[in-house]
């Protein structure tokens, strides 16, 4: 059986397309619980319509990303802050 839950390593390429720099070592702050996690550690679900990213501490949604028809939709409502290097 295939497991549905992955982690942020699986979307390193997608995040790199959007942010143009390496993002799996970026630190994201959860808007719900305030936990700070490197994006490599977050929970990722690829089988929803688009990609759903959840906090590993409280499981609230951090990001939703849809790529379709040459466009991106990036919902960062659940992320209070992203900290990352210039690349």
């Amino acid at each position: 059986m295939q497991e549905m839950k992955l982690d942020g390593n699986a979307i390193g390429g997608l995040l790199r397309e959007i942010f143009t720099v390496e993002m799996t070592a970026a630190r994201g702050t959860c808007a719900s619980c305030g936990a700070v996690n490197e994006l490599g550690r977050v929970q990722v679900y690829l089988h929803a319509p688009g990609t759903v990213v959840r906090c590993p501490d409280c499981e609230q949604v951090l990001m939703k990303i849809v790529r379709s028809g040459g466009r991106y939709w990036v919902d960062l409502t659940g992320t209070r802050c992203l900290e990352f290097g210039e690349g």
């Binding site: 295939q2 992955l6 982690d7 390593n9 699986a10 390193g12 390429g13 799996t24 070592a25 690349g87």
Partner: protein, 249 residues
């Protein structure tokens, strides 16, 4: 002023130079990729296949080769119901071209610059990025002590078995522990069960301070191993994990 700022990640072509069958379901693919910028141990690449009708499928694969190696190696497990892996393991031939981009990842990465002990726990093809780390370690002059706990289904499924034996016999600083979950071969001296508390306590360093820990495998395996380490006192944030399984192969 030229900055080293953001740049787009682009697809490039690799040419398959060599295929090595590792187990009945797993093969290593060695690519010549002239525009490859180099990588760090633990990083991966995205692979893109395009069908005649324009349909594209992308998958991410861990890099198996060391940064020092001449060719870029991926080790791929064939998943019979997958979209990409049956093409990579079975149809792709030496001389064929493949679209690649990378390297990708900065979290699940071991640079080998420090002499902190290195603890690696792998399940099945989750051993691939860990092998890149061990291959890299074999090239560095001042080697950190390293231990690998590697869970496979059967003896025939043990990826890199001979190379791991060779690496550990040539290097007193590396210890490799195998466990088989579905077979107890005659004469086998390793473990024959799923990883558990007693096994982890026998294998890992009891002092959790200053150990670099990398765990890779199917989601359930990774979470079981990480939980055992945390129960032993390892800081959850110091246990670096990489899960695979849902991308459909």
């Amino acid at each position: 002023m030229i900055s080293r700022g953001p740049r787009l990640i682009t697809w490039q072509l690799g040419v398959l130079a060599e295929i090595v069958q590792e187990t009945p379901r797993v093969s290593s693919l060695y690519f010549d990729a002239p525009d490859w910028p180099g990588h760090l141990a633990g990083q991966h690449v995205d692979v893109r296949l395009t069908a005649d009708d324009g349909y594209q499928a992308e998958r991410s694969y861990s890099i198996a080769s060391a940064p020092e190696d001449r060719r870029l190696a991926l080790t791929v497990e064939r998943l019979d119901d997958g979209e990409v892996s049956p093409y990579l393991v079975g149809e792709l031939r030496v001389g064929d071209k493949l679209e690649l981009r990378g390297p990708i990842g900065g979290y699940f990465v071991w640079r080998g610059e420090e002499e902190r002990p290195l603890l690696l726990i792998g399940g099945g093809s989750g051993v691939v990025p860990l092998m890149s780390m061990l291959r890299h370690r074999s090239h560095v002059a001042r080697k950190a002590p390293a231990r690998l706990l590697f869970s496979s289904r059967t003896l025939a499924d043990v990826i890199y078995h001979a190379e791991l034996e060779h690496l550990s016999s040539a290097d007193g600083g590396l210890r490799v522990f195998h466990t088989l979950t579905r077979e107890k071969p005659a004469g086998w001296t390793g473990y024959t069960r799923r990883i558990d508390e007693a096994m982890v306590k026998e294998v890992v360093w009891p002092t959790q301070d200053m150990v670099d820990v990398f765990v890779c495998g199917p989601t359930s395996f990774v979470e079981a191993a990480a939980s055992l380490l945390v129960a032993m006192g390892y800081d959850p944030r110091a246990v670096k994990t990489e899960r695979f399984g849902a991308t459909g192969g």
